[in-house]
Amino acid sequence: MNEELGIILETTSKILSKHVNHKLRQNIDNENPDLTNLWTEVEQLGLPKIAVKDKFNGSGLPLSSTLPIIKLSNNIGTPIPLSETILSNYILSESEINPPNGIITYAIDAKDLKIIGNEISGDLISVPYLNLTDKIICITEIDNSKQVILVKSNTEEKELKKNFLSEPRYNLKLKKCKILDIKPLNLSINFKYLGAIVRSAQMIGAMEKILDLCIDYCSQRKQFGRALSKFQAIQHQISEMAVELAASSAALSTITNSEVFYKNNKDIAILKIRAGSAAGKIIAISHQVHGAIGFTQEYELAYFTRNLNSWRNDFGNESYWEDFLGKDFLEKNNQNLWEYLT
């Protein structure tokens, strides 16, 4: 890790830890002044535009370098759309649109988008944090070329989607919404792949926190006259979590350490598969060792496990990427598996 990134991480950690507590997370759906203060400091630090080009007043860091920051933010359980804004701003900047200040979110999917003049109509599906912003980017194909569109939503048409995510997420019907900007999408990598990488980094941050919660809880909670952590059955379950987490982190470090990660779809697929399947096991085990307290809103475990449930399905679940990876190999004739792997 380079020195600059180390300093950013340290400062980020201080600011986020100062603001974030479980109460803040519980008020996530509401208009929340504490959230505004937190966002202001995050913005002062330059995080939202960290991967934006210099000419648009960004820090110009490669996107792979932002992954440790995104991971950290979700390790602390920060209830703001930092990853969404970093990614949206990156896409805008790459496509030569000057990203506006403030929070920007994206639509994970879109349906029946129609553009007439300067207005757009259609369905935006699964839009995170629409309660905190009205600026959304969506990607659509017009005349065989992908376009990135920056939209200002008219708030009446949004529908809060109750899902297993702790964070707010919306479906949105756009009716003649104003297009703020539109440009041909200029990415060396598919939006879905980018999303898969970012969600994996978020999952790994959350899973690290979950492991810590389990270790702390089991070391303190006593039953049958001793700490839960002294029971071998508990030790083994928590060890399994650690193994799953370590494997996911190894898959992430392959992407983080490569400035040309976008050239390698294989590694992206592996990361999303590994993090997604680890999430499944870690959700189950962490709740098992916590008992009933983990199943409450008051205790923070569920904030993290609910997010995992959602993120592992965003931008392709394990099955999607397994199929992708399997086909990627099988359709390469003349290459046996060992050649493909090495």
Binding site: E208, L211, D212, I215, C218, S219, S229, K230, Q232, I234, Q235, H236, I238, S239, E240, A242, V243, L245, A246, A247, S249, A250, A251, S253, T254, T256, N257, S258, K266, A269, I270, I273, R274, E318, S319, W321, E322, D323, F324, L325, G326, K327, D328, F329, L330, E331, N336, L337, W338, Y340, L341, T342
Partner: protein, 384 residues
């Protein structure tokens, strides 16, 4: 969790070149019918001639110093060579333990005389080793070993039994963990020492134990008052436990923990590729993702070893995950027999599959059980 990081290590061009060299060597050996690819070859498939040939290529004792006849190459280079050998199912069992762990133990703890006399022979593929840890009454509880070495004039008297020693019947030496003084009440790990035992000495007898597949690879070795010279003591008297823990990191972290049955997977895919394209891409994708992750982790450990670190816990991660992967792989192939019945598979593939099915329960026993791996990890997490 920062202590369980597996930093990503890129394979350099030099390593890729080495990979190519090993691969073409293997292709030639296969063309000359020098070996038949086997499942679990690092345990079951021994060929002293093949080992010697590898030695002449400079691919054994790769990281050992030139001073002792080694090749002074990196742990990463050794990793690449072992991976290629495992992936092809080559007969590497004869030299496996000597090359993987015993040589390094001797280099670290042995006398100058031992280094000079033994290391060159390991490197040339002419000296083989067995592991002397488990005993009839000491399995996972290794610290409970009863084999005893008593100090006598000019040496040691060794008395006891070792069991499950793979390849002892083909080996020249065994590194024996024995008690040299009683365990202290507080710490059972005290009073253990390692000995370098020449298996051709009088009063050593090696008896084979057929495994459940009917094959002979492991043994029970009896030491009936074997007289050892003074310098048979390896390392420091009483420090055997910490020495053995370091040895286990070498034993657990390598690619044999997930490539033991790779030949089966490769032959399976080559045979059924057309069917897999239509209905099996998800299954294959899942296996690829896990295998590639394991390769990265194990390669990362090789780099830690190269840097002189002691990745004992990381090794437990790889072993635990690798064992699970191999079980899942065999199970995945078994389920495929629903589409193409097993009796319609080519006979060589059937054999590999049946071998793997029978042998797979041993993968999470040898080198330390699943329970032990999880215990090691739990300790590092601060739970024990």
């Amino acid at each position: 969790m920062s202590k369980f990081n597996f930093p990503s290590i890129e394979e350099t061009n030099d390593l890729s070149e080495l990979r190519k060299d090993v691969r073409s060597f293997i292709t030639n050996s296969l063309n000359d019918k020098e070996f038949e690819p086997a499942a679990d070859a690092w345990v079951f498939s021994a060929s002293p001639q093949f080992s010697k040939k590898l030695g002449s290529m400079g691919w054994l004792g790769m990281s050992f110093p030139k001073k002792y006849g080694g090749n002074q190459r990196t742990a990463l280079e050794r990793y690449v060579v072992t991976e290629e050998l495992l992936a092809s199912g080559a007969p590497v069992a004869a030299h496996w333990i000597a090359d993987r762990q015993s040589g390094s133990q001797i280099l670290r703890y042995g006398s100058e005389e031992q280094k000079k006399s033994i290391i060159p022979k390991i490197t040339s593929g002419e000296c083989f080793f067995a592991i002397g840890m488990s005993e009839p009454d000491s399995g996972s509880d290794l610290a409970s070993v009863k084999t005893k070495a008593t100090k006598i004039e000019n040496g040691w008297n060794l008395e006891g039994r070792k069991i499950w020693s793979t390849g002892a019947h083909l080996s020249n030496y065994m590194i024996v963990l024995a008690r040299t003084s009683p365990a202290s009440e507080k710490n059972r790990h005290e009073g253990l020492s390692q000995f370098l035992v020449d298996l051709s000495l009088p009063n050593v007898s090696v008896k084979g134990i057929p495994d459940m597949t009917g094959q002979r690879h492991f043994n029970e070795t009896l030491f009936d008052n074997v007289i050892l010279s003074e310098d048979a003591l390896l390392g420091v008297e009483g420090k055997g436990w910490s020495q053995v823990v370091g040895e286990l990191a070498l034993e657990r972290s390598g690619p044999e923990r997930f490539l033991s049955h790779f030949t089966l997977l490769e032959s399976f895919i080559n045979e059924f590729k057309n069917i897999l394209i239509k209905s099996g891409s998800k299954l294959i994708g899942k296996l690829i993702a896990e295998l590639q992750t394991l390769r990265r982790m194990s390669f990362s450990i090789a780099s830690m070893l190269q840097n002189g670190e002691s990745p004992e816990t990381q090794a437990a991660f790889v072993k635990e995950l690798g064992n699970k992967f191999e079980k899942m792989m065999v199970e995945t192939l078994r389920e495929f027999s629903n589409i193409i019945p097993l009796y319609e598979w080519p006979s060589q593939l059937q054999n590999l599959f049946e071998d793997a099915t029978l042998r797979i329960p041993s993968n999470s026993l040898r080198g330390g059980t699943t329970e032990i791996m999880r215990g090691i990890i739990a300790r590092q997490l601060g739970l024990r």
